[in-house]
């Protein structure tokens, strides 16, 4: 391990490390372009043989200044920014943001829009968990699971496309309701998916749950005490796999979640395998919620009645002068939101997603801050991997299910 053979800054770090702690220690630079980090995350790992002694995550490669961008767009335009934060759960981000602004506006959202939001955010949860399961299994070496997961994910994306015209960056939830009227025939499409999906989850389980290699790679791996997780800002399935029953959908229900019957799954083992079990069970519970939303979908309007905020129907614009004026005003100037501040927390597939919106009474927000689950979760990586084998790093960070767009914003 001679530092002079390979020139460059990185080797200088290695030499420094050797000078400090003897020749056994070495620094490994994992990322920023590493297939297992699912985005651009760089981990600086200090090794003693195969044991990790220190880990320092380096983030910010995907920082796009979205929070700054909010301040120059009007409230409705900003919905499109929220999609791009967590690109695997765009509708969850739409929901958090529109709920926050609606709270400031004190808007009443009609039941159909609320139920539709629940149904689609749960489909988003399935979408996100499927990508997680597929890539996580791929990282650990179970290649075929990926193909199975993406088969179902494709159908979810087609449903999104049917609703919004977009597969990923849907922006389907708007302040005041939905962007478009739900398309004709959506019930059959969703029903077809929901009918077959539980058996597909069984298929994934057949591939993994009793698979000896899978168990060997995940049982007892990625342990981190619950107290440390709470102190380090970890939320979501990670906490539930450690036995803590926290879920914003149950604790502080939003968008009519209190009208749905579902269970918040928990495990106590607190390892990678337990997180896998929690997410599998969450998929089954989400299916139940979608089923209930679909069967009990209320009829009636799908957007709020406030003409200052919600765009008028096309038909009204052709017949009523006033509707045309409101349309012009909303499109050109946006709408004013009363001064105040709210913090709206929802349960995204990754954990606690908070939108802090501050209004100064104008048509553009003074400040929007996103408390993203990936940012909080990632902070626990150094604690989680300290003292474990380098081979377990991939399984451990995979079980956190972070998205780097969500981390860096």
């Amino acid at each position: 391990m001679s530092g002079s053979a390979v020139p460059g800054q990185f080797m200088a770090t290695l030499e420094e490390t050797e000078a400090q702690s003897g020749p056994r220690r070495m620094v490994l630079n994992m990322g920023p372009q590493h297939p297992s980090t699912h985005g651009v995350l760089r981990l600086l790992i200090e090794l003693d043989g195969e044991i990790i002694t220190k880990c320092d995550p380096d983030i910010g490669y995907l920082h796009t200044g979205i929070e700054k961008e909010f301040e120059v767009k009007n409230y409705q335009q900003s919905v499109t920014l929220t999609d791009r934060v967590d690109y695997l759960a765009p509708l969850s981000n739409n929901l958090g943001y529109v709920l926050a602004v609606e709270k400031l506006l004190e808007l009443e959202i009609p039941p159909q829009a609320q139920w539709m939001r629940v149904m689609l955010t749960e489909l988003t949860r399935l979408n996100s968990h499927l990508v997680w399961l597929g890539t996580h299994a791929l990282d650990i070496g179970a290649m075929s699971v990926f193909l199975y997961c993406f088969r179902e994910r494709e159908e979810i994306l087609r449903i999104f496309e049917m609703f919004s015209g977009q597969r990923m960056m849907t922006s389907y939830f708007r302040i005041g309701g939905l962007a478009l009227e739900p398309p004709r025939g959506w019930q059959q499409r969703v029903k077809k998916f929901i009918d077959v999906f539980p058996s597909r989850v069984d298929e994934y389980e057949e591939l993994l749950t009793n698979n000896r290699i899978w168990i060997g790679r995940t049982r007892g791996v990625g342990l981190i005490p619950l107290e440390d997780m709470l102190d380090l800002g970890v939320t979501g399935p990670m906490l539930r796999a450690a036995g803590l029953k926290v879920d914003a959908r149950k604790d502080r229900p939003y968008s009519s979640y209190d009208k749905f019957d579902f269970v918040v799954p928990t495990r106590t083992e607190n390892d990678v395998y337990a997180r896998y079990q929690v997410r599998i069970e969450e998929m089954r519970q989400s299916t139940r919620i979608i089923q209930q939303a679909m069967e009990g979908m209320p009829s009636g309007p799908w957007k709020a009645a406030d003409q200052h905020v919600v765009l008028p129907d096309r038909e009204k614009m052709k017949t009523q002068m006033e509707a045309l004026i409101y349309h012009f005003k909303i499109v050109t100037e946006g709408f004013r939101v009363p001064a105040g501040e709210v913090y709206q927390v929802i349960e995204s597939p990754r954990g606690e997603l908070g939108y802090y919106v501050v209004s100064d009474g104008t048509a553009r927000p003074l400040r929007v801050h996103m408390r993203t689950p990936s940012f909080g979760n990632l902070q626990a990586v150094p604690k989680m991997v300290a003292g474990v084998l380098i081979a377990d790093v991939i399984a451990s960070i995979g079980s956190m299910d972070f998205v780097l767009g969500d981390t860096d914003r």
Binding site: I59, G60, H63, G65, E67, K68, E69, E71, V72, K103, L104, L230, D231, L232, G233, L244, V246, D251, R252, G340, E341, V342, Y343, V345, E352, G354, Y356, V358, L366, R367, H369, R371, F375, G376, Q379, D408, R409
Partner: protein
């Protein structure tokens, strides 16, 4: 002494009993409680809230730039008590020239990255922070992007 509008809030009364000079104001809006805390008391108040009032989780630390008002920066902390299932927002104001406040990393370790982000994007310094360096922007970046006087478009000079 706490303002009259906070008297019905048990947590505010408890904080007031703990330190009579800590709370400088507050409000109850949209079902959310906000307490304004004297900047010099932030660490002791947070410690009290965590260990005595069971606000075990610090959800986020962020800032709002109230330019051109003075004190310019408003630091915002969101706390959550799992046991009581309640949220609490704390606020502190700092001045435009050399904005500085004490770090709460000694109370919650999660504040480490949250405060680094505020330092990076607003240029507010946190005293006693274990690792205060930029987190989102590259090292050596000039300026603080989320300040109101930082342009949204244009090339770097």
């Amino acid at each position: 002494m706490i303002p009259d509008n906070l008297r019905e809030y048990a947590v505010a009364l408890a904080v007031d009993a703990f330190d009579g000079e800590a709370i400088t104001g507050g409000k109850h809006e949209f079902g959310e409680w906000t307490l304004e805390v004297a900047p010099s008391k932030i660490v002791s108040v947070c410690g009290f809230l965590k260990y005595d009032q069971k606000f075990v989780r610090l959800s986020t630390v962020t800032a709002v730039d109230r330019y051109p008002a003075e004190p310019r920066f408003e630091l915002v902390y969101h706390l959550y008590s799992i046991e009581g299932n309640q949220w609490l927002r704390l606020k502190c104001r700092t001045h435009a020239t050399d904005p500085v406040i004490e770090s709460v990393t000694s109370v919650w370790r999660s504040a480490n990255w949250y405060e680094r982000e505020v330092f990076d994007l607003f240029g507010i310094r946190f005293v006693n922070h274990p690792d205060l360096r930029r987190i989102m922007m590259p090292e050596g970046w000039e300026g603080y992007p989320l300040r109101k006087d930082y342009p949204v478009t244009g090339s770097r000079v």
